[in-house]
Structure formats: structure tokens, C-alpha cells
């Protein structure tokens, strides 16, 4: 069965049935162009991280500062992106909002990577019943499409950052675990692992010293590719009203709130959409570049 729901990009969860997938890189863009892509994605990401870190200082106004006398104003010299329905500066909200989207995406991806990697390592290394049990749980999770899982979880936990992160994380754990387990199974057969075992090195040490490093590349690539997906899931939850608490300027929530004003103030919908898309673009391009750079199997 093709692995589904895993990976921002189809290569990440790519099961290669006919031996065609792994070779496609050779037909892709040239290596130099790939480098340029990574630079572009990386550059954008640095920009977003800067916004997330310094947002409140960079923003021309407070994210929640209201001017009730100037609601739904179009772009102007004072408000570069205009104002929203209660007179808040849209640019400032987007800038300050970077931290919500970015934090939610990164935290959930890192959590998913740590939990998923641990589960995958343990399952792949010890095999047997442990493997069977853990993978049964993972497979059970994999039977629920990830956004559906996230929606269901968020609806139980309720609106808020915690719900958002838990929902996104849970929907990513299983694919990561499966992927890492696969890598571990490959590595486990290698001589150096067998040798270490034979001389009686403790399991924990073998896992940390010998097995983990070989799965790291896969993990890093997968993580970077999942990040874009996490942004999309997070903003979809926000859009569906399952996001953060008001008045936090989360982009998906802003988009949803601005929908009613789409005719008189389309900027309320356009700006957060562009912010989300650019971030996803940055993660995708960076992840693709990273994969091409790190994954030796994919070099033509």
C-alpha cells in the first residue's frame, strides 16, 4: 500500500513500485539551480524567523492597537496594507502573527520528529513484539487522513495554541515513525551495528551512537518537508475556527475573519493568504533543496 498522508511532498513518502521515482532527479533542475532554490527558500525562512522573533519591534503599530475611527481603510502611507474591521493595522498583525504560525509549525514538526523518531528507532531496532505493537498504533493513526485527524483532535481539545500543536503533531507522528523505522531496519543489518552488539555495547548507546546518525539525514529532510504541510494544516484549522484565541493575529484565523469583508476590503483576505503561501513556498523549496543536497541516493 502506498504510504499516504506522509510528507509535504510526494518524494518524502515515495514508495517506488516500478523503479521510476528515484531516478527523476536526474531530469530535474541543474544542481546550481537547486542551490539557488535553497538559497531563496532559506533566505525567505530567515526573513520569517526574523519577523517571528522581532515582530513586535518591527511592526509599525501594536498588533491589537485599534483605531475605531479608521476601520477597513485601504492601503495608505500610514497603513501600508490598510486596516481591518476594527481598525487594526494589517501589516502589523501579519508581522506579529508570523510567530504564531511559525511557532505552531516548528514546534509541532519538531515534536512529531522527536516522538516519531523515537518510536521508529525503538520499533526498528528491537523488532518483534515492540515493533508489532508500535507499528500497529502507527498504522491505526495512518488510517485517518491527517487533516481529518487534526480537526477531530482540535475539536476535542478546543480552540487554542495547544490544541493546534497537539493536533498537527499527532497527525505527523505516524508517518515519521514509519519512515525512520525503515531506515533503522536498513542500518541494523550493517556490520558496524552487528559488531557493536557482539562486543556487548548497550542498546541505548548503539541507538544513539550508531543508528541515529544514519537516520538523521532522512529525519532532517522529512522534517523540513513536513514544516510546509504543518503551516497549511495550522492555517486550515484557524480558517475553520479551531485556531488560536482572539485577538491573536494568526493568519488562518485572520483570513476567516476577513471573509465577510472580502468585497469592501479584499486586502483582509489577500494579505494573510500571501503570507501563508510564501511561508509554505519557502519551506517547500528549502526542503527540496536540502533533500537534493543531503540525500546521496537522489543525485543523478
Amino acid at each position: 500500500m502506498p504510504e499516504s498522508g506522509g510528507g509535504a511532498d510526494l518524494y518524502a513518502g515515495w514508495v517506488d513500485p516500478g523503479g521510476v521515482g528515484a531516478q527523476t532527479a536526474g531530469a530535474g533542475p541543474t544542481r546550481r539551480r537547486r542551490g539557488a532554490h535553497m538559497l531563496l527558500g532559506g533566505g525567505l525562512l530567515v526573513g520569517y524567523v526574523a519577523l517571528a522573533a522581532l515582530g513586535p519591534w518591527l511592526a509599525p503599530y501594536g498588533a491589537n492597537e485599534q483605531d475605531l475611527l479608521g476601520v477597513l481603510a485601504p492601503a495608505s502611507a500610514e497603513h501600508w496594507l490598510g486596516t481591518d474591521q476594527i481598525g487594526r493595522d494589517l501589516l502589523s498583525r501579519i508581522v506579529v502573527g508570523a510567530r504564531f504560525t511559525l511557532t505552531a509549525a516548528l514546534v509541532s514538526v519538531i515534536l512529531a520528529a522527536s516522538v516519531g523518531a523515537t518510536v521508529g528507532l525503538v520499533a526498528g531496532y528491537f523488532g518483534g513484539r515492540i515493533d508489532g505493537g508500535l507499528m500497529a498504533v502507527a498504522d491505526l493513526l495512518l488510517t485517518v487522513p491527517n487533516l481529518i485527524l487534526a480537526i477531530a483532535i482540535a475539536s476535542v481539545i478546543g480552540a487554542g495554541m495547544t490544541g493546534l500543536i497537539v493536533a498537527t503533531t499527532t497527525s505527523f507522528v505516524a508517518p515519521v515513525a514509519r519512515l525512520i523505522r525503515g531506515r533503522v531496519l536498513e542500518v541494523r543489518q550493517e556490520d558496524f551495528v552487528q559488531a557493536a552488539r557482539a562486543v556487548g555495547v548497550r542498546d541505548a548507546r548503539i541507538l544513539a551512537r550508531h543508528v541515529l546518525p544514519h537516520a538523521t539525514t532522512t529525519l532532517v529532510i522529512e522534517t523540513s518537508l513536513l514544516a510546509g504541510q504543518a503551516v497549511l494544516i495550522g492555517s486550515a484549522l484557524g480558517f475553520l475556527g479551531l485556531g488560536v484565541r482572539p485577538p491573536a493575529p494568526e493568519w488562518g484565523t485572520m483570513l476567516s475573519g476577513g471573509r465577510e469583508f472580502i468585497e469592501v476590503a479584499p486586502h483582509l483576505v489577500v494579505a494573510p493568504g500571501v503570507a501563508i503561501s510564501l511561508l509554505v513556498f519557502a519551506f517547500n523549496v528549502f526542503g527540496d533543496g536540502l533533500r537534493d543536497r543531503l540525500d546521496p541516493r537522489r543525485h543523478a
Binding site: 500500500m1 502506498p2 504510504e3 499516504s4 498522508g5 510528507g7 511532498d9 510526494l10 513518502g13 515515495w14 513500485p17 516500478g18 521510476v20 521515482g21 531516478q23 527523476t24 536526474g26 531530469a27 530535474g28 533542475p29 488510517t143 485517518v144 487522513p145 491527517n146 487533516l147 481529518i148 487534526a150 480537526i151 477531530a152 475539536s155 476535542v156 510546509g228 497549511l232 492555517s235 486550515a236 480558517f239 475553520l240 475556527g241 479551531l242 488562518g252 483570513l255 471573509r259 472580502i262 468585497e263 479584499p266 483576505v269 489577500v270 493568504g273 501563508i276 503561501s277 510564501l278 509554505v280 513556498f281 517547500n284 523549496v285
Partner: protein, 278 residues
Amino acid sequence: MVPGDEATLMAGATASQADIDLLRARLGLDRPLVEQYTTRLAGLARGNFGYSSTFRGNPLPHVLARLPATMLLMATAILATVLLGLPAGVLAAVAHNRWPDYLLSFLVVGLLAVPNFWLGLMLIVVLSVERGWLPSFGFSGLASLVMPTIALAARLVALVARMTRGVMLEELAKDYVRTAHAKGLDTAAVVARHVLRNALIPTVTVIGLQTGYLLGGSVVVERLFAWPGIGDLMINAIGARDHTLVQAITILFVVGFLLVNLAVDVLYVLINPRLRHA
């Protein structure tokens, strides 16, 4: 007790505690949790999902009644993926490193980054609000399918186009193609006869891999376009705190997910003879 248990919701806003207790007893919500759970599981086995406050009873028939709309949307999205993604990928490969190729790679990267609900919103603005071309909600004939389909299929079209392009380039570089060229066959004939068949595999793969996306995306897209399917119903159910209904729909999505995956596995074997003996 979590606010919003079934009895409270059913009794309505101005019910007193006594009324709620009465209802709770009637619904069996005052029984021990373990008993409630086993009753519920036994019910599930018989197709009874429990008490949905929206439908005042077993939600299954109502959910099933909405299923065709969701399936129709999925089907058109898959159809659009094949009809748009495949030719686009072929075109890009044939026009390798010329403008159609660049345009396509630009589009692919863009479509993969844009959230489907935002794409849908932009379509509504351009096609429905400003021009009044297409109906923007609900199901009212073929025209109403256009925007939800585009919003849902965009990502898949991009992926299929990219995959197809890759596979095509691969194939075009192979010996038999060169031989065919040397024999005087033109590109179109070669592509049609030999290469396209191999390019079908990535299409099926992408659809298989992205079933999860299709199902999840349908919730958002149905919501946006008030499409009368089960995804839209799911969000209504969450707003109404109708957990029974949320659960029923989730189970239905899981079943659908498994079925599509099964279908994809079968398709693989059909398209790709090499797998038949594996």
C-alpha cells in the same frame, strides 16, 4: 461534566437542571461510563452510531445521504487531475527548458504553496463576486462543481504534472525513443505510443499518496463552498458539539481512505505488469 453533553444540548438554552437530568436518564447518560462505552460499541457494530443532537437520533442515514456529494467532488477532482496534470506534464517534458516548461514549474511551485481555502476564496472573488460567472455555493448543476474542483484538485494537478514531466524526460532519453526517432517517427507518435503508458504510473501513485489530502481538503473546500457533503457536515457538527456526528463522519472518512488505497493498489497491478508477479 464537560459543558455541552448531549442532554444539555438537546434540552436547549433555557432548560433547568431537573429537565436536563430527566433527558440524561432517558438517553442513558447517567449509566456508568464503561456501560455507556460497551453499549456504544455494540451499537456501532449494528450501524448505530448513537445519539446525534443534530439529527435527534442515529446520524448514519443522514451522513450516508450526504456522501454522494463528497464522492462526486472527489471524483471530479481526480478526473481534473488526470485531464490537466497529465497533459501539462507531457507538454513540459516535450518543451523541456522552453517557456511552457518554465511556466509549468512556476505554476507547480505556486500551487503547492497556496492553501486550498485561499485559492477557493480568490476564485470566488474573481469568478463569482466580480463577474457573476459561476455559482459560488451548494450543488446546483455542473457549473457549481467548477470552483470547488479547482480548489481541491490544484495541488494534485501540480504534483501529477511534476511527476509526469520527470518520468517523461526519463523515458524520452531512453534508447527505444531515440531509435523510434531515428526510424522517422515524430515525437507525438512516440509519446502517444510508448511513453504515456509509463507516465500513468506516477499519476496513480500521486492520487494514492494524496488520498489523505483529498479527504482532508474536501472538508475545508466543502466548508468554503457550502458543498452539501460530509466534510461540511463535520464542521457543523463541531460547532454544534455533536461528538457522535463527528465520530461517525471520521469513521466514514477512514473507511473511504482504506477503500481508495485498496483501489490504488489494484490499479497499480493492472497498469504495471512488472508488479504482477511480485
